[in-house]
Symmetry: C2
Subunit: 358 residues, 2 copies
């Protein structure tokens, strides 16, 4: 290993031949000493206080890399930590895109195992993180169980629908989810800000005909879209809206939200709550072409899996990625009753990270 400095740059060469240049402000800002960094890992140093004309005045290496600065400060960096920044690109996401082939290997665990925590809970949460959904069986049919499952890893997101909500046929539905109609693949509550990032649905009764749940990986479908469709759906915002006597929710978002690298970050698709598009009139035709292609791919058998939930079964979806729908059912042949709740990804990923430690 070798190091070289000029006024503003530290160049580190590793035995592998890899070389990386570190900027003086980056180094000073990331000093790990007890004056600059709290034991909690939070930065004590306010980055804003660093002088713009800071310079490097020396460097040495002996397993740790030591540098000294023109403000009189000295820092020691772990060489392996520095090396981790010499690799191109960002940390790899544990994201596996899927289609209908996943029907044969549905990520499923038993409530009794997962509720015990430890490796069972970790593996179930890891499936949600990687695939965007997972199934839990043997949850029983006690009302309120769905929020207990959410609390195994995080926090319920209460909304105007309550801490939990019932999905069954009712006489005067204000929301189509509560009628017996089939529902095409959709994400929930795109009219909310922020959109709930997780949804859980727990089956209490299912003697009605039909009413099977369908799931599709929206990230996979977005990736398979022709580029010009992807650009239209990620480049134009549309409005989603929900309104009843006590509620009025409206949010504007593209159907596909891409991050700064152009990777899909979230998908918002819901034909029930989408409002009339407000687009330049010469764009409406091509936008509909992209929107229809995406919507139909979301229903295509090669992307879709199906779940016939039995009483006591529950599934969780990443609501920014995996769309869900259901086939139609009638209550004349029986009843179908689900309870659902919303939660958020930060709690899930935190629990997964903590359970994965050591």
């Amino acid at each position: 290993m070798n190091v070289a400095v000029d006024r503003r740059t530290l160049t580190v060469g590793w035995p592998s031949g890899r070389e990386h240049r570190f900027h003086v402000l980056w180094l000073r800002d990331n000093c790990p000493c007890g004056d600059c960094r709290h034991e909690s890992g939070q930065r004590l140093l306010d980055t804003r206080s660093l002088p713009d004309d800071l310079e490097l005045v020396g460097a040495s290496v002996d397993g740790t890399v030591r540098v000294s600065f023109s403000d009189g400060h000295a820092s020691s960096f772990d060489a392996d930590w520095l090396l981790s920044f010499a690799s191109p690109g960002a940390a790899v996401r544990r994201r596996r895109l899927w289609g209908a082939e996943l029907q044969d290997e549905l990520p499923t665990a038993r409530f009794v195992d997962v509720a015990g925590g430890g490796a069972f809970l970790r593996d179930w949460l890891a499936a949600v993180d990687e695939l965007g959904f997972a199934v839990l069986t043997g949850c029983g049919t006690e009302r309120g169980t769905v929020t207990r499952v959410a609390e195994l890893f995080g926090y319920v997101r209460e909304t105007n629908y309550g801490r939990l909500f019932d999905v069954k046929t009712v006489v005067n539905p204000t929301n189509l989810a509560y009628t017996g109609l089939g529902l095409g693949a959709h994400t929930d509550n795109p009219y909310r800000d922020p959109v709930p990032t997780l949804q859980l649905l727990h089956c209490l009764a299912s003697s009605a005909d039909g009413g099977e749940n369908t799931l599709v990986d929206g990230f996979r479908v977005a990736q398979d879209l022709p580029l010009e469709d992807f650009e239209l759906l990620s480049g134009c915002a549309i409005v989603f809206r929900y309104s009843d006597a006590e509620t009025e929710l409206e949010t504007e978002t593209p159907v596909i939200v891409a991050d700064v690298r152009g990777d899909v970050q979230s998908v918002h698709y819901n034909t029930r709550s989408a409002q009339a598009f407000r687009l330049p009139d010469d764009m409406v035709g091509e936008y509909y072409e992209a929107y229809q292609r995406f919507g139909r791919m979301l229903e295509a058998p090669e992307y879709r899996i199906q779940l016939k939930l039995a009483p006591g079964d529950l599934f969780i979806v990443d609501n920014l990625r995996v769309l869900h729908g259901r086939t139609g059912y009638t209550s004349s042949g029986g009843e179908r009753h689900l309870q659902g709740c919303y939660a958020d990804r930060d709690g899930l990923r935190s629990k997964l990270a903590v359970l994965s430690r050591g």
Copy 2:
């Protein structure tokens, strides 16, 4: 008013001379009849089912615009509703950017008024929607009040910090917010996904010296940034992280998130939880230039207002827009005790919209 059709386009001319062209699929998709649209306002028609080769076969106008389609369907549209889509651009946001001049007209209301609902609550919420913050006085000093205030308009977002959290000097702080140090302007919890969109802080005691709260409109500062800085801060994602014995949260986001029009959608700035930037080495220097300029502008007197909270005072901020900080304090001269909680914008905007009806 006059209408003309060709196979795929309805052209409407208004008395003002304005003319707009409506695409056949847009019209069919937005048919307001009872077969296509549920009384709740949700679309019954699944857009995906519309034939790609749908055509217009006729149109007439007599206050309402009537069109008939090649699939046999006929629709009637309110002419004023159609006109609203003939205006360029999106609906105007009630967003007023501000700087230090707002010190003289802080949006403030009394708890006793706002808790009564109606116009007082509406106006207080409207200030949060427009300015990104508001103050509430006379809340008393009962613990737990902060969540009661959140429940006046929405729902508490529970996190690993609890439904509410205490901010005061403690002996073994795991988070810098709980020490007596000053804190530069920051947004809360950028390491969370989704980031809490609202934060409330309620003052229970404030006999310590210092500890004044500072607020700055991050959207205003972002708007005043040189364009090349704006592009760097909105074009590169950085990682924020928080970790303790039971929690591990990490999220990647640009410091400035722009929407598809290039307008600022959110700001995430927190020097404590920002992780070492992972950028191409030839970009680090210019990124720091932009990051430092933005960070220092957030502390500049011309952008900043200051609140000296008395016991019983509370403030709420839009945590994606308004940054907060505080001057340092010591507990030797007294104590300072705040309680805080998180909530979300959808509940607030829904309550505001409902209170603004009719």
